[in-house]
Every structure is written in structure tokens, then in C-alpha cells.
């Protein structure tokens, strides 16, 4: 328990530093925001007024405090582009991203683990090597490339799946999932190898461990040994990895969301970056950071619950 509180506090510190970096990146670098938003032809007084209205002419430290103290209460500032509060946009995008991320997660994690365990039972054989190399190669191909191929095959030639994730208004859950399958597939391809690699290494180590040998010598059936002894230990590192993946799936899908016209937080960050809408950009980026932090604390919780050694410490 103590360990988890410490872990959560560390995440908060990390988030604090991240907010500083995001703030400095968003406020310092772009120069005169009023000029950037209103354009080069705008009157100097209009620019000054714009900056003053947004409080951009105050000292940086005051601006930072103002921003972050409102941010934590859910007031994320006002978008330059929409001249409306940022928070509702971020909230809606986050929900959409969580849907897409969750679907990708439930597809890729079991597949990756199954692939890794399968390969681990064939270490050194061609099938193991082929799976590892395939996973690795798919993992380095950018998502928009695999997306193009998948869109061509399933959207254009076979016409099985809609090419955009933008489902009709009021669509039910099943229809929404149907629209999300094509955007999810490239993610499965990219992350399959990553998860399989970690699961494979964990399984190889667990298969080689003394407790496994003992269990086999004790005469336990192999299926039981795999389930009770090998998998439980092999999956610990995999869980840590899937947590960072969960964070990424919920916030890092800039390319996929843009490509499939999906209004998630990745697309929101992209649009904000394009329009130099810094309040929106900062809010989006910091939200993703928060999702990351939550995901990694959750991962520690789960691995503490699974790991007999950490469990013993806690008792």
C-alpha cells in the first residue's frame, strides 16, 4: 500500500514537471499569440487588446499559476479557434479515444500474449524466429502505411468495412464497433510484436525456472503447469508493458484518428497544433499525460495484485 501511495505521488510530481514543460512550450516559444491568431495585417492595438483579454501580457509565473490552478479544477481555458471553453472539447475527445483505445486493447493484448507464449514454446525454431521477426517488422511500419493497405483491401476492394470511423448520428454500440474495426487493425499490427516479445521473454524465463521444473517433476499435467506456474509469472512484465500501451492507445493515436476522421484526443491535438490553438493544445497534451500517469499507477496495482511476492510484503 505504501508502495502504491509513493508511486502515485511520484506520478503527480512527474505530471507537475510535465505541465511546466507543456506550459513553457506553449507560451514561450510561439512568440506573440495575438499576432499569430489575428494575422499579420491586424492592427497593433487589436493585437494588444487580444493579448490583454487573454492575460498574455502578465508575468509568466502568474500566467502559469493561473493556468494550472484553473486546469486542475476542470477549467482548461478558452480555445483561440472556437473562442469557447476548451474542457468540453477535450472531454468529448477523450471519451472517443477511450472507446477506440479500449477496442484496440482488447484485440491486441490477448493476441500478443498468445503469440508470445506460442513462440516461447518453440524457442530457436524457425516458427519462433519468423514470428519474432514478423512482429518486429510490423512494429516499425508507421500506422498510416499499414492503414493504407488495410483500407485498400477491406474498404475499397472487398467493401467489408467503412473507410472512416465517423459513424452516423445516434448509431448503436455494435455499429460504432463496426466503424472502429478498420482503425483498430493497424494498431493491432503495430503492437502485436511488442506485446508478443515481452510475453515471449517472460514465458521463456518462467519455463526455465526451478518452480516450473518442480511442478513438472511433481507430475502435474502440462496444461496446469502452464496456467498456474508459467503464465502467472510470465505475464507480470507483460502487464507493465500493456499499461504504457494503454496510455498510448488512449492518447497517442494522432495519425490513426486523423486518417480515419475520428474525433479523438489525438486528432484534437493535431488540429490544435495545426491551428496554433495553444490552450487547446496544452489541455490535450496534459490530459494525455494524466491518462498515462493513471494507466501506469493502475498497472502497478494489477501487478501487485498478481505478484505473490509483492502480495506477501503487503500482508
Amino acid at each position: 500500500m505504501k508502495f502504491l501511495i509513493k508511486r502515485a505521488l511520484l506520478s503527480l510530481i512527474t505530471l507537475g514537471i510535465l505541465s511546466l514543460i507543456v506550459f513553457l512550450g506553449g507560451q514561450l516559444l510561439p512568440g506573440d499569440v495575438g499576432r499569430a491568431v489575428l494575422g499579420p495585417l491586424a492592427d497593433a492595438r487589436a493585437v494588444a487588446l487580444f493579448d490583454h483579454q487573454l492575460g498574455l501580457d502578465r508575468p509568466l509565473i502568474v500566467q502559469y499559476w493561473d493556468w494550472i490552478s484553473h486546469f486542475v479544477t476542470g477549467d482548461m481555458g478558452v480555445s483561440f479557434t472556437y473562442r469557447a471553453p476548451v474542457a468540453p472539447f477535450v472531454a468529448e475527445a477523450l471519451v472517443n479515444s477511450l472507446k477506440l483505445g479500449a477496442l484496440a486493447f482488447v484485440m491486441v493484448v490477448p493476441l500478443g500474449i498468445a503469440g508470445g507464449v506460442w513462440a516461447a514454446q518453440r524457442v530457436g525454431r524457425w516458427s519462433d524466429r519468423a514470428l519474432v521477426l514478423l512482429g518486429q517488422s510490423l512494429g516499425v511500419v508507421p500506422e498510416f502505411i499499414s492503414s493504407i493497405v488495410l483500407i485498400l483491401v477491406f474498404g475499397v476492394w472487398l467493401r467489408w468495412l467503412p473507410m472512416s470511423a465517423d459513424w452516423p448520428e445516434g448509431a448503436g454500440a455494435l455499429t460504432q464497433i463496426r466503424y472502429l474495426i478498420l482503425p483498430t487493425l493497424p494498431l493491432v499490427l503495430v503492437f502485436f510484436g511488442y506485446i508478443a516479445r515481452v510475453a515471449r521473454v517472460g514465458t521463456i524465463e518462467a519455463l526455465d525456472a526451478d518452480y516450473t521444473r518442480t511442478a513438472i517433476l511433481k507430475g502435474l499435467p502440462m496444461g496446469l503447469v502452464m496456467r498456474r506456474h508459467v503464465l502467472r509469472n510470465a505475464l507480470l512484465p507483460t502487464i507493465t508493458v500493456t499499461a504504457s500501451l494503454a496510455g498510448y492507445l488512449a492518447g497517442g493515436l494522432v495519425v490513426i484518428e486523423t486518417l480515419f476522421h475520428y474525433r479523438g484526443i489525438g486528432a484534437l491535438i493535431y488540429t490544435a497544433a495545426k491551428a496554433k490553438d495553444f490552450p487547446m493544445l496544452e489541455a490535450g497534451v496534459l490530459t494525455v499525460g494524466a491518462v498515462y500517469a493513471v494507466a501506469s499507477v493502475l498497472a502497478d496495482l494489477v501487478s501487485a495484485a498478481l505478484n505473490p511476492r509483492i502480495g506477501a510484503q503487503r500482508a
Partner: protein, 275 residues
Amino acid sequence: MSIARERLRAAAHSATLITGLAILVVWIVCALFGSAITPFDPYADNLLSTLASPSAAHWFGTDQLGRDIFSRVIMGARDILIVAPLATLLGTVLGTTLGLCIGYLRGPLDDVVSRVIEAIQALPLIIVALMALAAVGTSNATVVLVIGFVFTPLIARTVRAAVLVERDQDYVAAARLRGDGRLSIMFIEILPNVLPIALVEMTVRLGYAIFFVASLSFLGFGIQPPSADWGIAIAENYSLIGSYWWTVLFDAAATASLVIGVNLVTDGLKSVVDA
């Protein structure tokens, strides 16, 4: 049996290494001598033959402006093969230096830098890069700088871990007793011993750099038109994918082959270093 298996494995590794190198060489040749190879001028419009499907004259067809896609795919290797390696090199030099400093000196500097590294890693790299590029503006130079800086902490972390092992070795203690300065211990004694790790990390990063440059170019934050870059071409023609598949498929295949080639080389090199 085990020797035979060893040989088989070695052969497999060299096969991946050779395949990867072959792919890389093809693209490097295209990047260097592209203008001499291309059958057509990759930048020349021909409004009389726009969006022509692949034929004997235009192997990969033509795009919206009637430009020969085969020629553009060949020329498209150039910018990404300049930007990605430069960014990787920058990240490796900065990251190795930083990793040496915080790993050897430790103390408050290490604490602060390690925290900042952690904070940056709490975000997907593509988002860090997008934010930075939105702030400083997009050009080939800023893409190199941003990707280089984004890679710096990642490489620093790897090098730092290696330095932590080295700093307690006898040769470092000997150098210290000899009265060598910190700088000379870091860069003359320790650096050569952590360099192989830094170099392997560099080839891994090169693959990711290509991944990033391609993705950023696709998003409009990387290499800029009128370059024949593959990512740009895909972004420009993506809306035509339903009717004119050849305007995106060949560029996609080119990008995929380049990243897979680099990955095969990395994989091969790693097994050579591990052996």
C-alpha cells in the same frame, strides 16, 4: 545438434542482415542518384495524362498533376534519408553526452535530469514532436532538431545505465587515483566502453526516426512540398484512395520497405554484437 542449430541461427541472422542491407542500398542509391535514374522528371506536371493507371510508360501510373509516380517514388527516398539519419545522429551525440554526465557525476543534476526525462516520456513521442513543431515552425532543420531532442533523453537513459555499471570498475578508480579530471575520465576512459551500446541504440533509433519523419510528413509537420516525399504523397492523394489506388499504394510500399530494411539491419547487427 547444437552446433548445427547455432549455424542455422547465424545463417538466419546473416540472411536478415543481408536482406536489410540490400533494401537499404537500393534506397540510398535512389536518394543519391535519383535524378539520373528516374525515367521522367518527378516534378513535371503533365495535365494531359492525370491519374493514369499503371502502364508500360508509367509503371506506377500518374498522380493528380500527371506526374510520373515511379519517378516520384525514387526521388522520395532523398529527404527522408537526409532528415532521419541527421536527427538520429544529433540525438545520439547529445544523448550519449548527457548520459555520460548524469551517469558519472550523479548528484542533484542526475535527479533533475532524470525527472525531466521521465516527464517527457509520460507522453507519446509523436505528441511531443507535434507540440514542439507547432511552437517553432516546420522545416527540415526544425524536424531534425525536434526529433534529435526527443531522442536525446531516450538514448541518455540507455547510456546512463551502462555508465552506472562502468563507473565502479577498477580502471575508472585507477584513473581517478592517477588524478585524471572528470572530463577525461568520462570521455577518454568510460566513453569507449559504452560506445557499442550507444551505437546499437543508434541503429534502433534510426528505424524510429524514419517512422517519425514519415508520420510527421504525412501529418504536414515534417518534410514540406514540393518534395517528392512518400508521406506527403500519401497525404495529398489519400482522398483518392477509393478510385486511384496507385497514387498511394506504391509510396506506402516504399515507406514500409525502408523501415523494414532498417529493422532487419538492426536485428542482424544486434545478434552480431550479442554473439
